[in-house]
Each structure stands twice: as structure tokens, then as C-alpha cells.
């Protein structure tokens, strides 16, 4: 009896650890490949291709990166600006709407909730949105074009609303009301300080979306000074294919050299860098955010 149990356990452990180990390795390997590429000498990549460990160690890619930081710094600046502005403004508007929606004294609050929710059920699609942005709002090459499309998300309103109404005792708000506090005052002095964890969590989700966005840049921006980091990287990575086509069509174009292979990998690392650095500290917020969303969304 006891023997059968332990055999069962051993078999389970073999399967579970093998599966998790393989999955873990799959998730980490691409990062190692990129790191190795960034630390390899250009010659060894051209000769042997990318590898798990650098065949010939070199920091030249990072040296090139430091030598020409103008564009890259600018792209970083754009990304940081849209991330900070978008998250701050978006979170403020989202939290206010969430607060109002959970106020029982607010008439038609269900109608307002439906007004928000309906936008997730039926969408006009990308084409009308694109034409609205370009033709009617004049957003081509406007920094706002990188901020507005991601500013407010209905699910975040729902999550914050349910968290406020389940974690803040109604009596607290009512007693503030009796003391003569206005609605905005209650929101600012009581609701915000007491909802910090959920606001931090939602704020991180928003910030990640802004940090990783390239799609809106592709649609609305071609001016160099407005290109955010991810789109900058995308353009650099896809340049090789473009250049190759050009070279095959125009013979004298051979003089143009595409970015070096190791440089591309170094640039990729620079783009993920901040996320990898922050990851250990913010991971738990995302985990709790997903769970809150699953329960309440």
C-alpha cells in the first residue's frame, strides 16, 4: 500500500518537474540568445550565426549604442513621456468614473455603466477610428495620438469600481457626507488614499501597455522626434529586409550598410531592460491584478 503511493508520487514528480523545467527554459532561452548576440563580436555572428553563448566576446555593440544615442535617447524620452502622462491622466479619469459608478445616490448609474460596457461588446473597428484620428482630430504626428487611444479601458473602471465598493465601508463615505464634505473631496481625501493598492495595480497595467505600444505609432506617427522606443526597435529590426530589397533593385545602394547584427540585439536588450529590472518588484501586483480581474471583471 505504502509502496504504491510513493511510486505514484515519484512518477508525478518526474512528469511535473520535467514539464515545468522545459517550460521555464523555453521562456528564458530567447532572452539568453539576445544577450549572447549583443555580447558577440560582429565577425563571429557573420561567420557562425547567433549562439547560446558568445563565441567571441565583444562590447562593441554597446559601444556603438553609447556613441550614437541621439535617436535612441529621443525614443526613450517619447516612451517615458507617454507612459507617465497616459498612466497619470488615464488613472485619474478611470478612478473618478469608478467612484461615481459605485455611488448609490448617483441617479442612472446603471445606465452609465451600460454606456461604458457596451463599447466592449460592439466596436466600430479600426478603420473609422483611424479616419477619425487622422482627418477629424488632426492627430497625424501628434504626441496625443500615442496617448489617447490607450487612455481609458472599461475593464479597469469595472475593477476599480468593485474594489472600492467592496473594500470601503459605505458608512465611511456617508459620515464624511454628513460632515459636509463634497463628492470630489471625499474622492480625493478618503477614496484615493484607501484604494492605493488597486490604483497601483491598475496603474502598472496601464504603464505596461504604454511602454509596449508600437501599433499606434505605426498608425499615426512618422516624424522622427515622435517615434517611441518599441516602434524604433521595430523599424530597426525590419530595416534589414527593406534594405535587402532596395539593394536588389538599385545596385548603387550596396554602399548602405544595415545595422549590425550584434547592435540589433543590444538595442533589443535596451528596450526590455527597464521591464526586466522592475519585474521582480512589480510581478506580485500583476498577479493580484489578474485575480481581482478574474473575480470581478
Amino acid at each position: 500500500m505504502h509502496y504504491r503511493l510513493s511510486k505514484d508520487k515519484i512518477l508525478f514528480n518526474i512528469i511535473a518537474y520535467t514539464f515545468l523545467m522545459a517550460f521555464t527554459v523555453c521562456c528564458l532561452l530567447p532572452f539568453l540568445f539576445v544577450l549572447s548576440g549583443a555580447l558577440s563580436s560582429e565577425r563571429s555572428i557573420l561567420e557562425h550565426g547567433y549562439s547560446l553563448f558568445p563565441r567571441e566576446f565583444s562590447l562593441s555593440a554597446f559601444r556603438t549604442l553609447l556613441a550614437m544615442p541621439g535617436d535612441i535617447l529621443n525614443a526613450y524620452g517619447v516612451t517615458v513621456t507617454i507612459t507617465v502622462l497616459g498612466t497619470a491622466v488615464g488613472l485619474f479619469i478611470t478612478a473618478m468614473a469608478a467612484y461615481v459608478l459605485q455611488r448609490k445616490c448617483f441617479p442612472h448609474r446603471n445606465a452609465f455603466a451600460f454606456f461604458f460596457y457596451f463599447t466592449t461588446i460592439f466596436e466600430g473597428g479600426i478603420v473609422p477610428k483611424y479616419i477619425l484620428m487622422i482627418r477629424y482630430l488632426d492627430m497625424k504626428n501628434n504626441l496625443l495620438a500615442l496617448i489617447l487611444p490607450l487612455l481609458i479601458n472599461v475593464f479597469y473602471i469595472i475593477i476599480i469600481r468593485s474594489t472600492i465598493s467592496s473594500s470601503l465601508p459605505n458608512s465611511l463615505i456617508e459620515s464624511a457626507e454628513i460632515d459636509g464634505a463634497g463628492e470630489f473631496q471625499i474622492f480625493r481625501k478618503i477614496v484615493i488614499p484607501l484604494s492605493k493598492p488597486i490604483l497601483a495595480t491598475v496603474g502598472l497595467f496601464m504603464a505596461l501597455e504604454y511602454w509596449n505600444d508600437w501599433f499606434n505609432a505605426m498608425l499615426y506617427v512618422d516624424q522622427k522626434s515622435l517615434i517611441p522606443l518599441q516602434y524604433y526597435l521595430y523599424k530597426m529590426l525590419s530595416q534589414i529586409t527593406m534594405l535587402r530589397e532596395l539593394v536588389s533593385k538599385v545596385p548603387q545602394m550596396t554602399a548602405v550598410t544595415p545595422p549590425e547584427e550584434s547592435f540589433k540585439m543590444a538595442m533589443t536588450l535596451v528596450t526590455i531592460g527597464p521591464i526586466l529590472l522592475l519585474y521582480p518588484f512589480v510581478q506580485k501586483y500583476f498577479v493580484s491584478g489578474i485575480m481581482v480581474g478574474a473575480v470581478k471583471g
Binding site: 503511493l5 505514484d8 508520487k9 508525478f12 511535473a16 514539464f19 515545468l20 517550460f23 521555464t24 521562456c27 528564458l28 530567447p30 540568445f33 539576445v34 550565426g49 547567433y50 549562439s51 547560446l52 479619469i93 473618478m96 468614473a97 467612484y99 461615481v100 452609465f112 454606456f115 461604458f116 463599447t119 461588446i121 460592439f122 466596436e123 466600430g124 473597428g125 479600426i126 478603420v127 473609422p128 479616419i131 477619425l132 482627418r135 477629424y136 487611444p149 481609458i152 473602471i157 463634497g182 509596449n212 505600444d213 508600437w214 501599433f215 505605426m218 518599441q230 526597435l233 521595430y234 529590426l237 529586409t241 547584427e261 528596450t271 521591464i275 500583476f286 498577479v287 489578474i290 478574474a294
Partner: protein
């Protein structure tokens, strides 16, 4: 009473920014679906451009591409649901059952990491792996004395690549919900089962899985509600928008964006977009109606 009106005015003012936002960026674009029935030109804009009946749809269907693209979208999403949900459940079960706390933490962090990476970076990973001249795959192959593989002329292989990449990106995220569900199961049930002589596998199949069925059903239904929506960013970045691969990797969303940006065909792309929105809407409403009838608690709205 006066104080109440004042209060409501302030509340209305506080919700106003969000309301305006959705009017401008969701409801006005909804009226833009008329574009599907218009011969759009920039000067006349959305509402003054001349009507042209069903011409855009005729053009869309006569190309025949839309059928392939619609089929790709459905087929990919179906496989994604099956593969991802299974892997998420397996991952969550294994993570909760293994004894080593350190490995659990490390492994969970590693598996969750891809969620944080933009699709551009994933595109960079794919480039690093599959690039014909310098890719890691081919350096391994040549080191092993095998011939290099040109992935970009191997159209069929990308189906598997996409399924793999999609699982790689989302399973960590998706398993969090199952982890929470499994952690919530009463430990005494397992203790009782173990005293009765039930082994690990028996416990998983007779306790864990049956008890997380509600979560499984809900998550699958959520996915089914989105089954006609392709993940534009993934398909675009993983394939590098490579025309050679359209046959097996083009979905409605990439088709619409390409028709809009590259062909500048507003009529056809908005016809395709409208078709997608309507089908999405119908699917979502039907899924919700079924859930309401069978398991009220899990209805979305």
C-alpha cells in the same frame, strides 16, 4: 434636496471626462461603420462621401481572400483556446503540487515573464531564431552537420510557430487564475483522500479538476466570445508581415490593417471590419445568452 442636486452635479462632472472619451473614441467610430457602404474620399469625409450600396462587400467577397482570412482567424483561435487552456491548467496543477518552494517561485516568474514583453521584442526573438543567415536555429543545425532551414519559404511550419508563440506568451498569465482557484480548494479534502489511499494522479483527476470546472468554463467562454478577433500584434510581428506567409498566417485583423494602410482601400477594409464587428457581436450575445440560461452566475452581462 438642493444639496442633493449639487452633489449629483459634482458626480456628473467627475464622470464626464470618461463619458466624453467614450463618445469620441467609441461611439463616434461606431457611426463610422457607414463607411462600409460608401465610396470614401478624404475631402468629403465619413458622412459626406457618396453612398455606393453593397459595392465594397461585392469587391471584398469577389477577391475570395476574405474566406481564407476568416477561416484562418477561426481555426487559429480554436487551436489557441484548446492548447492554451490545457497548458494553463497543467501548469497551475503542477506548480501547486510540487514540493520545492524555490523552484515553484522561480518557474512561475519565468513562465509569467513573456506576458511583459512587447510583440516587437517577440519579433526580435523570432528574427534571432529563424533568420536564414545568422539565426540560432541554423547555427545549431550547421554545428550538428545538418543543412540550414529557410523558415520563410516553409509556409506550413508557421502554423506551429504561431501556436507555440501564442502559448509561450499567454500561458503564464492565464495560469494565474487557475492557480488562485486551486489554492482556494480546501486542503482537508486532499488529506481525506490521501488517508483513503488516493495517489497524486487520482487526487488531481477526482478533486482538483472537477472543482475548477467553473473557472475552466468561464475562461473558455470568454475566449469563445473573442473567437472572430485575431491578435493583430502577434500575427504582424511574429511573421514580420511577410507576404510569403500570408496564405497560412493572414487573419482578418492583419488583412484589414493592410488593406487600410498599404492599399489605402477604405471601402473594402471597412466592409471587412464591419463584417467582423457584427459577427463578434452576435457570437458574444449568443454565448452570453447560453450562459445566462445554464449557469446564471457566470454570465458576462
Amino acid at each position: 434636496m438642493r444639496r442633493n442636486t449639487k452633489r449629483n452635479q459634482v458626480l456628473l462632472l467627475m464622470i464626464l471626462p470618461a463619458v466624453l472619451y467614450f463618445i469620441i473614441f467609441a461611439y463616434i467610430p461606431m457611426t463610422g461603420i457607414v463607411l462600409a457602404f460608401k465610396n470614401y474620399n478624404y475631402i468629403d469625409g465619413i458622412f459626406l462621401s457618396p453612398w455606393n450600396g453593397l459595392k465594397n462587400f461585392k469587391f471584398l467577397f469577389s477577391g475570395g481572400k476574405i474566406f481564407r482570412v476568416a477561416w484562418n482567424t477561426l481555426a487559429y483561435n480554436t487551436v489557441f483556446i484548446a492548447v492554451n487552456q490545457s497548458l494553463q491548467i497543467i501548469t497551475a496543477v503542477f506548480l501547486t503540487e510540487i514540493a520545492s518552494k524555490h523552484f515553484r517561485k522561480f518557474s512561475q516568474s519565468a513562465i509569467f515573464l513573456p506576458y511583459f514583453i512587447s510583440w516587437v521584442i517577440v519579433g526580435g526573438f523570432i528574427y534571432n531564431l529563424f533568420n536564414y543567415e545568422y539565426g540560432t536555429l541554423n547555427s545549431f543545425l550547421s554545428a550538428a552537420g545538418k543543412n540550414p532551414v529557410d523558415m520563410y519559404s516553409n509556409v506550413g511550419a508557421w502554423k506551429y510557430v504561431l501556436v507555440f508563440v501564442n502559448a509561450w506568451k499567454w500561458v503564464g498569465y492565464g495560469s494565474v487564475i487557475y492557480l488562485a482557484a486551486i489554492t482556494g480548494i480546501d486542503k482537508e479534502i486532499y488529506e481525506a483522500a490521501s488517508i483513503e489511499g488516493a495517489g497524486k494522479f487520482r487526487q488531481i483527476f477526482s478533486i482538483t479538476l472537477p472543482l475548477i470546472v467553473p473557472q475552466i468554463v468561464t475562461l473558455i467562454l470568454l475566449d469563445v466570445g473573442r473567437i472572430f478577433k485575431g491578435d493583430f500584434q502577434m500575427f504582424y510581428q511574429v511573421t514580420g508581415n511577410n507576404p510569403l506567409l500570408y496564405e497560412t498566417t493572414d487573419v482578418i485583423d492583419t488583412f484589414v490593417v493592410r488593406s487600410l494602410l498599404q492599399l489605402q482601400d477604405v471601402g473594402m477594409s471597412s466592409a471587412a471590419g464591419l463584417m467582423q464587428s457584427v459577427i463578434n457581436f452576435v457570437i458574444l450575445i449568443s454565448v452570453n445568452a447560453v450562459v445566462r440560461r445554464t449557469q446564471r452566475d457566470y454570465a458576462l452581462f
